[in-house]
Homo-oligomer: 337 residues x 2
């Protein structure tokens, strides 16, 4: 129950001044070996640990960064969070994880370091953010955006080439002879979100193959969860002529669709192909296993942390950077792999 030891307590125990203790903690040279040992022992004995609030107040740094994602129960974000945490750990930082639910208000809060100014920087995976939110943000807080990017730029950004990825996935389906390819979770107009970019890539592939675009095949969804994929697939099966492939804009949608197709006794890939995005762990174990676009998540995490730490360590204005990460189409059973 003893109150937590402060630097002052350690100093008294070791018979030195608080500043000397601080010097030891921060590995400053100007401390004799004898003093250093004495202080270290005092720290051990008293169980001293630095109080981050005090340090933050004085230095303006906490050694913590924030990662804000829309939904943790979307596996892609959970996997990404795991990787970002590992990378941050490797670089001696601690990650505070936040969930925005894709609400603009919460994304804004993340942009401003929440109520606090408790973190040194923010990695944000936005969904609802408005371009002007970025333009008017407080630039003293370093920010890196992941995936989605509200137009306008001016902020560091890490993502795959969504247009190319969708084009390749679509080309794969076309090469298998599919001609009526539905886009589950797609969007034809409006903001340049990931959904829009991927739909654009899909259209490019159609055009290159000389297949006419049919707006009815682009099906929006409420959310990117299993149930939405299942619902969309069920709806699509009732259309005439019905699609012969589903390009689902994330794996949850695709896995939900697989289930709905199974219930309707539609054989995959026999009579219909399914492709997803993200390459979450579950895609390797579904029945059938799922063909999907695998972003290099490891590299996304690495780059995000690196860009952010750069901004933190080297203050001052510098041009926004855009880091494009690699991706690969993993062909599995759902498209005959």
């Amino acid at each position: 129950m003893a109150a937590r030891a402060r630097i002052k307590d350690v100093a008294e125990y070791a018979g030195v001044s608080p500043k000397t203790v601080s010097n030891v903690i921060n590995n400053f040279e100007q401390v004799s070996d004898r003093t250093r040992e004495a202080v270290k022992e005092a720290i051990d004995v008293l169980g001293y640990r630095v109080n981050i609030a005090g340090r933050q107040l004085r230095q303006g740094r906490t050694g913590m960064i924030t990662l804000a994602v829309p939904e943790l129960d979307v596996a892609y974000f959970a996997e990404l969070a795991t990787l970002v945490m590992a990378e941050a750990d490797r670089r001696g930082r601690t990650v505070l994880l936040h969930q925005t639910n894709g609400a603009r208000e919460r994304e804004l809060a993340a942009l401003h370091g929440f109520d606090a100014r408790f973190t040194d920087g923010v990695v944000l995976s936005p969904l609802a953010l408005h371009p002007r939110d970025l333009a008017t943000r407080d630039r003293s807080l370093p920010v890196v955006l992941l995936g989605e990017r509200p137009a306008g730029g001016g902020t560091d950004h890490v993502a795959i080439d969504n247009v190319a990825a969708a084009r390749e996935a679509t080309a794969h389906l076309l090469s298998r002879g599919r001609r009526r390819i539905a886009v589950v979770g797609g969007r034809v107009s409006g903001r340049q979100g990931t959904d829009r970019l991927r739909t654009d890539g899909y259209r490019q592939a159609l055009k290159e193959a000389g297949v006419p675009f049919d707006g009815d095949l682009v099906v929006p969804v409420d959310a990117f969860q299993w149930r939405d994929g299942a619902r969309a697939a069920a709806t699509l099966l009732d259309t005439d002529p019905r699609p012969d492939a589903l390009l689902c804009l994330n794996d949850h949608l695709a896995l939900g669709a697989l289930r709905a197709l199974h219930e309707r006794r539609v054989s995959v890939p026999g009579s219909l192909d399914v492709v997803g995005f993200d390459d979450i762990e579950a895609t390797r174990f579904s029945v059938p296993s799922l063909t999907t676009v695998a972003p290099d998540k490891q590299e996304i995490a690495r780059a995000a942390v690196e860009l952010l730490l750069d901004r933190i360590d080297i203050p001052g204005e510098s041009p926004a950077r855009d880091h494009v990460v690699g991706h690969a189409l993993i062909v599995r059973e759902s498209t005959g792999g």
Copy 2:
């Protein structure tokens, strides 16, 4: 790029003292309406936001609580984290999410509020923690344990009745005529972890049904992920006589097993039943859909936050509480549902 406004800046702008601003921020009564309005306007104009480090230093409270779970890419923990965050939000707190990887060292760090002491309390889902880690912990930091509980008590705890849950799941399989039920992820001896408790429940059910226990049917796993379930299932299929049901101690194991069984052309539930634990979203969409033990996750989250906030708001020693949360067996296709 103006530096962030401090309380002092607001005070000057509004023509009052810093303390008056503080009084307004904290909704103290002793402020005239006129002054209150003036201060509020100044806050808006300057974009002032309180600096949590300063407040924490002064008050010893941050309004933040920590949730530490083993692996975010285990869907159960991701879903639980989502619920805990929502509950905390409802009660006006912010959650910092941490991942321990089930490493004792990291769990210990969580117990001590990490390097920092800037979280008001910790909800920890331990895996590797030792009973004596709890005995020697610094009791000034409120802690609530989830799920697993290192023997010894003395710390608030929230979990389902694991023994009963496993007994019921096993009884369900027995009632379907299954007699050689393997436990994937089970453990017969050693610490009283969740795996051990569930295995105990399994044995109770066998005993009640007069079915002899066969230690060879308890299969340990490295981790509780799909691949481990797939591997275990593959191994079990090669035994003779082979099992007629798999009681998998979490859903990932079960889903991985389903895939392996599919590859071996073993029909589920035709020739073999599979049951999981946790009721993650994916179990509703797998082929076949998965019978599983559903803990009341909502209630786990609610209770965890409530117990923790109690400890935070009412300082001083009080006996540790044990909150047992309800569960239900959800019968789906994998056992003929």
